[in-house]
């Protein structure tokens, strides 16, 4: 009985738990509730993915109002997969957060942190699961507003300006999406995405639909930090509390990429985007620019969190590159990299959270010799870094492999060469950290003041993510299988 309502529970459970955190007040109780709820959300997401892979797409009419009048939740291989990614990151980071948050946020505000965390999770899960275009906007704003607050909780006063800047850019992005949805409603009289897909082809040539396409694409690109619309991201990730950086880096931009995929392939159809309009070429050019420029900027960063933020922009470039091919292999590579990048960037930010806990800084100069004082944490950082570069036997290698395959399949060997070349830039910025951490002596400390290894409660979630990087680098059938299904589903629905 309850099984039939899993799609609704996926969103409702964290939504209801968020105000409960405020009522609990106590920061330990709020943390325990958040961990419980986020693992529950992960269990629901996994159950839904299994069901979708087993029996095909699921639809769920909210409150029994049948679509297109009511709001419909619709699960297919793509969004069930993204749902699992978001929920998994949410659960692992929540488990990790306890010690890190106590060190970084004032005690009397911690319960509010967990409330915002659950709301952000609700919003992200809602965007992914819903089949209604306007509902996407509502959930987008729920997740955005709560993530602005999460970022502003950082210790540095620059967290506040970063959150403000993100608020302005994020609102413009979301409003662009709202304009696009309004124009689509004007032409079709429906907001249900499956219904939109049916009603759009007869009016697809009208200027209104093309304008809607433009607004939605630009809006989503702002939210996903596609180069050159990425200015909000580096500061937001650099000054947010460590667990927030890990959570947002793994989920927020990924969900926006999902929104872009959903609108391009399901609502508008690939033929408008890639045949009538030169979207493929534009995305290809911007993706390659992102890969090179953001990676180059990352090399010159002193703040390692900021370095990883720039590297995120570059990695988003790889995902968009996969999408721009608009082929089955390209989409598989893109979707696979959504998953793998969430694993590696989540793991790396968690490792930096451990460093920040012990050093109170993530500046390169302060990290001298840290490979000896915090060996377990830094080993995790190294494995995550290898995954970021894309060397076997890590998950990063698998997605780069498929990306190169997709480029060669199209006969675009220069693009394949560029993918490999830009990976060399990642070697440089990861190596800078390894060099300082392992080949420089740790500074002398007074007796009893030495830097210690991070506590086990943070190392276990860290190594869960890092271990997943290794696991999905060797045992690829699960992740690649789902990504392939999702890609073929998207292409099948679009044509």
């Amino acid at each position: 009985m309850i099984e039939a309502h899993l799609p609704a529970l996926q969103v409702v459970v964290p939504l209801v738990a968020a105000p409960l955190c405020v009522l609990l007040r106590d920061h330990r109780a709020a943390w325990a509730l958040t961990v419980l709820i986020s693992w529950l959300a992960f269990a629901i997401a996994t159950a839904l993915l299994m069901k979708v892979l087993d029996t095909g797409p699921i639809t769920y009419a909210l409150g029994n109002w049948i679509a297109p009048w009511g709001i419909e939740y619709r699960l297919d291989p793509l969004n069930a997969f993204v749902l699992v990614i978001v929920a998994a990151l949410g659960a692992i980071v929540a488990t990790y957060a306890r010690v890190s948050v106590v060190a970084e946020i004032a005690k009397e505000r911690i319960y509010l942190f967990y409330c915002m965390y659950l709301l952000a999770l609700t919003g992200l899960l809602g965007i992914v699961i819903t089949g209604d275009a306007f509902n996407i906007f509502v959930f987008l704003e729920i997740s955005s507003l709560s993530s602005y607050v999460l970022i502003s909780l950082g210790r540095d006063r620059r967290a506040m300006t970063a959150a403000y800047q993100y608020l302005i850019m994020g609102t413009i992005g979301a409003t662009f999406i709202l304009i696009g949805i309004g124009l689509l409603y004007m032409m079709t009289g429906t907001l249900n995405m499956a219904d939109l897909a049916r009603r759009l082809p007869p009016v697809a040539d009208s200027r209104t639909v093309l304008a809607a396409f433009g607004f939605i694409t630009v809006g989503a690109s702002l939210k996903l930090a596609l180069f050159p619309l990425h200015q909000w991201l580096p500061n937001a990730y650099a000054y947010a509390p460590s667990s927030v950086s890990a959570f947002l880096a793994g989920t927020a931009t990924k969900v926006s990429i999902y929104v872009l995929l959903r609108f391009i392939f399901t609502v508008f159809g690939a033929s408008i985007a890639f045949k009538a309009l030169p979207l493929g070429w534009m995305l290809l050019a911007l993706a390659i620019l992102a890969m090179f420029i953001a990676s180059t900027v990352a090399i010159f960063q002193q703040d390692i969190k900021r370095m990883l933020a720039y590297s995120s922009i570059a990695q988003i470039g790889y995902i968009i590159l996969g999408i721009s091919f608009a082929s089955a292999t390209g989409l598989t590579a893109g979707i696979l990299h959504i998953f793998n990048h969430a694993l590696m960037k989540g793991g790396l930010f968690l490792a930096l959270g451990c460093v920040f806990l012990r050093l109170g800084s993530v500046k390169l100069d302060d990290m001298k010799g840290i490979g000896r004082t915090m060996p377990v944490t830094m080993a995790g950082f190294v494995v995550g870094g290898i995954s970021l570069i894309g060397l076997p036997p890590t998950a990063g290698f698998i997605s780069k492999w498929y990306l190169v395959l997709a480029a060669l399949e199209k006969g675009w060997w220069p693009v394949a060469v560029l993918i490999v070349l830009s990976s060399l830039l990642a070697v440089i910025y990861v190596w800078r950290v390894i060099e300082v951490a392992y080949f420089e002596p740790p500074p002398k400390h007074a007796q009893g003041d030495e830097v210690r290894e991070a506590p086990l409660s943070m190392l276990v979630p860290l190594w869960t993510l890092i271990g997943a990087n290794l696991y999905f680098g060797i045992e690829t059938s699960a992740s690649v299988g789902v990504a392939k299904q999702a890609a073929s589903f998207l292409l099948g629905a679009g044509s």
Binding site: F134, F137, V138, E141, L145, Y148, V149, S152, R157, R158, M160, T161, A163, Y164, L167, I168, T171, I172, T175, L178, I179, G182, Y185, M186
Partner: protein
């Protein structure tokens, strides 16, 4: 003549476009954090107008069942925009709260002065 009539007949869209561009310009061009939020609000309001005027049917009334058939305006965009207005209010409130906190810790709400303060170690 016909061209002018078509132009005037779409007057609601011209107002929307004017407000939208004005708001967007203020967000991009001004360096004062409060003015940016003002611009953002104008930008959002233009979208509210776009939705509201889209649902209006000339001569239509509110969709209330009276037993007699009558022309009514489409209530759905109006209801949708009610949600968007709530979101807009929340965004403005949060943005202003950030500005208050920025003013407290930097002593300024001018973007270039804040940048200067951040550059100093």
């Amino acid at each position: 003549m016909e061209l002018i009539e078509r132009f005037l007949g779409l007057y609601n869209y011209w107002i929307v476009i004017l407000l939208m561009m004005a708001g967007f310009y203020v967000v991009m061009a001004s360096h004062n954090l409060i003015k940016k939020i003002v611009g953002m609000s104008i930008f959002q309001t233009s979208v509210f107008l776009l939705y509201i005027s889209m649902g209006k049917v000339r001569g239509g009334t509110a969709p209330i069942l009276t037993g007699e058939p009558q022309a009514y305006s489409n209530p759905l965009p109006h209801v949708l925009i009610l949600t968007a207005i709530v979101v807009g209010v929340a965004t403005t409130a949060l943005g202003l709260a950030f500005v208050v906190r920025i003013k407290e810790s930097y002593g300024s709400i001018e973007e270039d002065e804040i940048h200067k303060l951040d550059e100093e170690p």
